[in-house]
Structure formats: C-alpha cells, structure tokens
C-alpha cells in the first residue's frame, strides 16, 4: 500500500480558525451601501386562483422602494431538474394559481425590515379558493382537484424497473411476506436559514451572494427566469451554514432579490425567517412504501416487489432524482434475482419535497430493512446472518440499477456486529433493552447531469507559485462538510507539499471553473478527481521543465514529495519545490504554472453513480414500557468509504448522519392541519439535543475504489439511511413491537404494546395482510411524467 503524506491524515479543517472566531461571513452577514431589505408575501391558501393583486398602497408606504408580483416576471415556468424540462411546473412568483400555503405571491424591497414587513400587509390579493388535496391517496383519485393543468391526474413523475420473472418467482418462494410503511415530512434544519444579497449593476450584470449548495444551480435558473445570459450572472457562495439538500435549488428569494435590485438600482438582501423555513421551505418527501418479498426457507432472497407512493407537494423541483433513488437505493444492498419496482411522485397542495440527506433513500431503506428483520423473525434466522447471506459483492451487477465495483458490505456487517457485541445481545438482553441492525448503500455522485449542461461535471484549476505556495480555484461548494479541506489534501498529496502551502478559493460562477455543486455526495469523488488531475497536470509541467537540468535518463522517473522535485532513483538529485516551479516558469517565458483538470463521469462504469458506498449499523436502545420513551444507548456504524482522505472529517460526517437519522427515527415530523403547518419552530419540531445523543462508534472500512481519488468514495450521506430501521429493529428486539410508521413516538409504542397485550389475551396471532389504499394500475401509462433512462442522458456534448 502506498504511503501517503497528507491523504489519510487527521488534518483540522482549513476554515476552522475563521469559524471559531466568528470571522467567517455567511450570506446574511453581507451588506452593501444603500442596501434594501426584501420580504416575500406568501399564499395563505393551499389552492387558489389569483383574481387580482393590488400593490398601490404598499408602493405608497414611506420607505418602500419596489413591489413585484407575478406580472412583473417573464412568467417562465422552470424546473430545477433540467433534464426533465418538459415537465417544468414552477413559477418564481405565482402567475395564475397558488398551490400551497406559503407559495410565493409578491415581494417588497424597503429601507428596513419593519417597513418591508408592513408593506406586505398592504398588498391586497384577491383569491378564489379552490378545493385542495393533501393526501396522495386522495390526489390520485379520478375526481381529485387538479393541481397542475399539464398533468392528467396528479401523478407528476413515475419510474418502473423490472427484472427476472417476478410472478413465477413468488410462486416458487417458500415464504412470502407483505408490509406497508409510512414516513413523514421532515426538514433539513440547517441553522442558517436561506439568505442572499443581490446587486444588479447599471450595465445589466447581476452579482449575487447566496447560501447555496450549488452556485451553478442558482446561476442557470436565474438566467432562465430573468431572461439573461448565464455569463452575466456572478453567483458567489460565502460560508454556508448547512445545506443537507435544502439549498440545491434556486428559490424565490434569490429571484426576488435579483429582480427587486434590478427595479430599484440598489442591492437587496432577503433572509428567510425560521418560520418561513418550516411553513414554506422544501423538505424530505413523505412516502408510503409497499413491500412484498419471496424467500427460501434458509433466508435466501428470491424476489421483491416494491411500490413507493411519494407525496411530492406542489412542484417537481428535484423530485426526479427522489423517484429514481427511491428505487435504486433499496435495490443496491442485496442480491435479489427477480424484482419489480415502481415509484410515483404525486402532487399535493403542500410545500414541495426536495433533496434531503439520503435523497430518496431513507424512506424505502427504513421500509426494506424493517421488512427484512420481520422476515428473519418469521423464519427464525438471525437478521445479521440473513443480511450477510444476501449481501451484494464486489463486481456484482444489479440489472437496470447499478454496477458495483468495490463493496465492503459483508465486512461492514461483520465488523459492526462484532464491535457491537451482536451475538451476545440480539434477543438476549433483558426486557426493555434491544439491538437492531440495518444496512445501506449510497451513490458517490450522480452520473446524470441534472442541470443538463454541456460543461464538465467538475473542473478544478491549480496554480503553482515560485514561493512554494499553491492556489486551488474551484466552484465546488464547501457547505460545512469539509470539501475545501479534502480538496486541499488531495492537491497537496499529488504535488508533495503540505496543506499549509495550499490556499483554496472556492469562488464564484464567473471566475472559478465549473462544478455542479454539493449534492448526491459527489464532491470528494468528482471535484476530488478533477483536483487531482489539475495538480498532476501542473506537476507534469514542472517535471518537463526540470528533467533536462537534472540530467534525467529516459528510464528514470521524477517524484514530487516533501516539498522537493527529484529523480526517484536518485533522491539526492533534485530541486526544492519553489526552485522547480521557478524553473518551469522561466522555461515558458514567465508563464505561470497552471494545471487544469476535469472529471467527466460519462466515461466511468457504474450506472447511476461511478461507484457506491456501503455500510452496516447496529443500534442499541432502551425502551420504557411505562412511557413509551426510547433512549438510544449506542450506535455502532461500519462504513465502506473507499479510502478515508481525512478520518477526522469523515467521523464528523458519520456522526452527523447518525444524529440526523436519529431525529428521523424518533422525534422529527412536520405536522399539518390540511395545508397548514402546525409546528413551525424548533421548539416543537424536535431535533435531538446533545443530551439525547447516544455514544457513537464509527468503523472505517477501506476498499480503495479505482474510480475515486486515492480510492475515496461517498461519506456523510449514506449513513443517514440505516439509522431509523436499526432503531426500529432494536425497539422490536427490546419490547416486541413493530412500528411501521416514522417517527417512532412514545404514543405509537404504547398503542402497539396495548395491542400486543390484547392479542395475547385473545390467545391467537392476528395475521392481517395490509391493503394498499393507493391504486395506480392503468393510471400511469399515459402520463408524460413517466421517466426512463433516456431522461437522464441529457444533451450529449
């Protein structure tokens, strides 16, 4: 194994000092002279036609500089997932209809926030209320209110995948089991709410500083909706206070700040309040998952049928990926020779779903991993052994879903089980205590280009300076996950310098090379490969310029290490890194040494993603049978990350994933009354606190993936998937109740305990096949929202 100097080391993050001292600037910290404050007027109705908007009074309020509504826009419909632009359904400000409580209707710019707020009250909107629908089951019925005109029925998107002979395989199975699971709407909960500052100059060029995971997403969608060229928009990402998927899409504040700035000729800042985030912000899609499995007596999986009904809310946004992933991710972990998956994303009059850590995976994986435990129980098999028996292996191909290169799933199952003391604990702990296991796989970036750009997915520039320093220029977005540190390490390793020698500028859309952004766990692999290629390009230029003076023979090789450039076979023959860079500059008449690198995954194997991470997790819980309260005592997680570029940061990602997964498992849920959010505050939307967080042990399994830079794969998203099912399985082990609807609240546990008691008294086991309430048969074929693989190809350059 190669000895690395920088890669694999526990290096503190490069932006640690500015963040620890409060000097790091976030979008809401930015201001400019003559800056105005913007506020957005939102719909109070879940579904209504806009009859008239009167802004006269608001415009006359002293201190108000501009008011805009849908009629001030170009009226262009857009969709974030631009590969499906035929399904564009969103307007930045409502044109004809509003489709959820919180839908954006108008916006104001004023000299202070109070005046802007007051002006919102003076805008008179006349609505004609329409019947609304909130439950996908209702929305799919023939007589349901139609939310969008371009879709017959409310099924916005569907995907189906089938392989093998499913019906025959069910007949040949020894045992068949069916279950239905439900998951709620949950929110990202980033501590920095959305914020941006936009400034149009008199020449018509726009500069915008915004809290985003993807500067390019904001650039391309602003260009589309404002009707200007992408190249005239400079999107700058300051420090970002968390994203978790919720800051991938351009949202109304960015458009409104830009248009208000254009109208007033002054900079405009808009910050969302926490209440706005809860009531109108994007969130994780609620899902209903129907699972049916056929197995052999020994636990071998034979066939699976899975149907996901996804509550999409009012607009598509990034729903295409969620639909796709809700099939891909549960199909990834186990060998199943026959399968049929379908997923339908249904419009409802609620805030739209979007990407959220796991991106369509946490919902079906909760279902699948719970369902597997129930099958293991029915068959009397240890659930860890059943998982091992069926685990995918390196080199496997899952037809129409994924090609697996490296895969440490089996090792993860074994290591997590050993470290957690599985054999001694499963089914053996005193009543009230239990352990549960769950597994997962996740993408390392998507092979499809969601913005449908002809530019490379990731490009990085690296400049070498003759004082020994190195500058990296990229658009890759560090949103807290630490990509600036990881990219600095990759470049430092390739060039043989130290991380202190490297300065990274993760800059704006005009000055920095292209990167699609931070989502789908793509940055380490995509931008990391591009960064390594850029560093290698620069290094090669230095080697070429210095090989002559060093007297290199044709069979000898050059090395860059320890801030030196030397002949590998004769390490004493060499130059310092600075001298070598200066020599290379002189050789080219003073031209700076600049390396460029791209990563274009269309050339890679893998389908869906260049490669996949895997892992297993064991949760140990204590359940109080009196109160129904669940305490998670310990989580042991083994994660196949390919290669840990920075174990310190990697652990942070894994621990954060477990924490977020725990909230999903036990406490987080956005509650609705019709279309109205009932708990729009962190006081009653329960994100786990420090004293509720369990002991966490993470185990890194390294499989050295050939696709990744120095072997690295995904970390920090996939591990969100197994937390809820591991806890659900542990709750079952502890008190014998099976909760199939997240979150696992004390109420649900107590109710299930009571039902168990009733059942015992009846003296017989009640077996009930759950009936689907969601008929889609024959209802999807004619939809233009049915997506297939062609939809993810885009315009090939």
């Amino acid at each position: 194994m190669t000895e690395f100097s920088v890669v694999g080391k526990r290096i503190p993050r490069v932006d640690g000092v500015v963040k620890a001292t409060g000097e790091a600037r976030y979008a809401g910290d930015m201001s400019l002279p003559r800056m105005l404050y913007g506020k957005i007027l939102r719909s109070p109705h879940p579904h209504a036609r806009i009859v008239n908007i009167n802004t006269d009074k608001a415009e006359r309020l002293h201190g108000v500089k501009a008011v805009i509504s849908g009629r001030d826009t170009l009226g262009i419909k857009y969709i974030t997932f631009q590969l499906l632009s035929r399904l564009a359904d969103d307007s930045v400000l409502a044109i004809d209809k509003v489709r959820f409580v919180g839908d954006e209707v108008a916006a104001v710019a004023a000299i202070d926030e109070d005046i802007a707020e007051e002006a919102l009250d003076l805008i008179k909107v006349e609505y004609q209320e329409l019947p609304a629908v909130f439950d996908p089951a209702e929305a799919m019925k023939a007589d349901a209110p139609q939310i969008h005109d371009h879709v017959d029925g409310n099924i916005g998107l569907s995907r189906q995948v089938e392989f093998g002979d499913v019906d025959q395989a069910f007949k040949e199975s020894d045992y068949v089991r069916e279950d239905i699971f439900h998951t709620p709407a949950v929110i990202h909960g980033f501590l920095e709410t959305h914020a941006c500052l936009a400034s149009f100059d008199p020449a018509g060029k726009l500069a915008i500083w915004t809290s985003t995971q993807s500067p390019y997403s904001v650039q391309t969608l602003l260009a589309k909706t404002l009707g200007i060229r992408e190249g005239d928009i400079k999107v700058t990402r300051p420090h970002v206070g968390g994203g978790f998927g919720g800051k991938v899409e351009m949202l109304a504040h960015e458009f409104c700040a830009a248009l208000l700035s254009k109208k007033t000729g002054r900079p405009v800042r808009i910050e969302y309040t926490r209440d706005e985030e809860f009531t109108a912000g994007r969130r994780r899609h609620p899902m209903m998952i129907e699972l049916k499995s056929g197995v052999k007596k020994d636990g071998t999986l034979v066939v699976r049928a899975c149907r996901n009904i996804i509550d999409g809310g009012a607009y598509l946004g990034l729903g295409g990926i969620v639909v796709s992933n809700s099939i891909t991710l549960p199909a990834l972990t186990y060998r199943v020779p026959n399968y049929r998956y379908e997923a339908h994303r249904v419009y409802t009059n609620k805030p739209p779903g979007t990407a959220m850590r796991g991106f369509g995976g946490p919902q079906p994986v909760f279902a699948l991993e719970s369902h597997l435990d129930m099958i293991a129980k029915d068959l009397g098999i240890d659930p860890a052994e059943m998982r091992l028996k069926n685990a995918v292996q390196p080199g496997d191909e899952i037809p129409k879903v994924a090609k697996i290169s490296t895969c440490g799933l089996s090792e993860c199952i074994q290591k997590a089980a050993n470290r957690a003391g599985w054999a001694g604990k499963k089914g053996r702990l005193p009543k009230g205590r239990g352990v549960g296991m769950a597994c997962y796989g996740f993408a390392s970036g998507a092979l499809f280009n969601i913005f449908n750009t002809r530019l490379p997915y990731s490009e990085v520039h690296v400049k070498l300076n003759d004082d020994g320093t190195v500058n990296i220029l990229t658009q890759a977005a560090d949103i807290g996950q630490g990509s600036n540190t990881v990219l600095s390490q990759i470049v430092a390793e390739e060039l043989g310098v130290s991380v202190e020698d490297v300065t990274i500028t993760a800059s704006d859309t005009q000055n920095a090379p292209m990167d699609l952004g931070s989502f789908s766990s793509r940055v380490t692999l995509f931008a990391g490969n591009a960064a390594r290629a850029a560093a290698a390009d620069a290094k090669q230029q230095v080697f070429e310029a210095t090989s002559g003076p060093l007297g290199l023979k044709i069979h000898q090789h050059m090395e860059a290490k320890d801030r030196r450039i030397y002949i590998r076979e004769h390490p004493e023959k060499g130059l310092t890194f600075s001298e070598a860079v200066l020599a290379a500059q002189r050789a080219k008449n003073g031209m700076p040494v600049m390396g460029r690198g791209i990563f274009d995954p269309r050339k890679s194997a893998g389908f869906g993603s260049p490669t996949w991470s895997f892992g297993a997790q064991v949760a140990e819980v204590e359940v109080d049978s009196e109160t129904g309260q669940v305490e998670v005592l310990k989580v042991t997680a083994a994660h196949d990350c390919g290669k840990a570029i920075n174990p310190l940061l990697l652990e942070g990602q894994l621990e954060g994933s477990i924490h977020m997964g725990m909230g999903y498992a036990l406490s987080e849920e956005i509650l609705f009354d019709g279309g109205l959010t009932l708990n729009p505050s962190s006081l009653n939307y329960k994100i786990p606190l420090a004293d509720q967080t369990p002991e966490i042990e993470t185990i890194e399994v390294e499989t050295h993936d050939p696709e990744g830079p120095f072997g690295a794969k995904e970390a920090g998203e996939g591990l969100t998937l197994p937390v809820a099912p591991a806890i659900a399985n542990a709750v079952y082990d502890a008190v014998g109740v099976r909760i199939k609807e997240l979150p696992i609240t004390p109420n649900k546990i107590l109710k299930a305990l009571e039902e168990n008691e009733d059942r015992k008294q009846e003296g017989s086991r009640i077996e009930r096949k759950q009936q689907s309430m969601y008929p889609t048969e024959g209802n999807t074929k004619k939809q233009k929202g049915v997506i297939g693989y062609g939809d993810f190809e885009g315009d090939q350059s």
């Binding site: 409060g22 420090h239 807290g480 420090a690 509720q692």
Partner: protein, 162 residues
C-alpha cells in the same frame, strides 16, 4: 422613535441609536457589525445567538438591546485575547467540532459560561450544558470531546493540552 443607548461589548463602549423594540442580536449584528453572533431563529429555540452578559449566557434574540445597557457583553469576537485563540476555540478546531460553523460562536460561548461555573465537568454535564444549543452537523460527539479537552487545558493554565 429612536433613542441612543450605551453598550459595553468586548470591553469597548458603544453608543447606538435604535428603536426601543430592537433585540440585542440585531443591534450587535446590524448596529455594531459584530456578525459573529448568529441568528438561527427568533424564539430562543436554537442557541446560535448566545452571548455572555455579565458572566451569564443569554439568548440575544430574546434580550432587548435597551436591557443590555450597563452590562458587560462578550461576543465571539472578544474571546481570543492578544492574538491567542481561547482554549475552547483551539479545541473546537483540533477536535473537528466545527463543520458549517453557524452554531459554533453560540456553542463556544455556552461552553465558556458553564466551564466558568464548573471547570471540570463530566461528559454528561457537558452534554446537558450545551443542550440549549442546536447543532445539525456534528451529532455533538466532537463538540463534547472538544469541551472536555478545553476544560483540561484551562485547568492546566490555559495551555492547549490533550
């Protein structure tokens, strides 16, 4: 109707003209440009805006700026002294307790306030001590480790020692 108030922040005196309904966090951020104090909500639910007022941690989104007159306020900008990071700041960096950094100023100040009261807390006490501060990135594991490490460093004369 604006009125002029005096605030003592990080050892410096300031006079600012504000509307009487302005919260301390707004005045620190907008009036004094001390944007290190973050605002994550406006109902005291997240802890991002924690500052130390007369030695006690307060949520500056729930304190009227006028009520902070005559009190000594410490924000994150005032924690490092003579160009030296406070041991809590060093420990947060070294232990990977910072990710997005938005909760960090409030978290560090909450930690400082309870370490001043209880210099040698147990891990359980640390967790309770920061349970008024939300962090969505770290799962609190490395934050807890960092605070325990800083408490040891402070105990041995302020030197970072792990």
């Amino acid at each position: 109707m604006k009125r002029v108030i005096g605030l003592s922040v990080n050892g410096e005196s300031h006079e600012v003209a504000i509307e009487p309904n302005r919260t301390l966090v707004k005045v620190l951020r907008q009036g004094l440009g001390l944007t290190g104090t973050k605002q994550g909500c406006d109902d005291g639910a997240c802890g991002c805006c924690t500052v130390i007022m007369d030695g006690r941690p307060v949520l500056s989104c729930l304190v009227l700026a006028t009520d902070a007159q005559g009190k000594e306020i410490l924000t994150i900008e005032g924690l490092a002294a003579n160009g030296q990071l406070h041991p809590l700041q060093s420990a947060f960096i070294e232990h990977g307790a910072i990710q997005c950094g938005f909760c960090t100023p409030g978290m560090i100040l909450s930690a400082k306030a309870f370490l001043d009261e209880d210099p040698e807390p147990t891990p359980e006490k640390v967790k309770i001590g920061i349970s008024g501060n939300l962090c969505r990135c770290t799962g609190y594991v490395k934050i807890t480790q960092a605070i325990l490490s800083a408490s040891r460093a402070l105990g041995s004369g302020g030197q970072q020692n792990d």
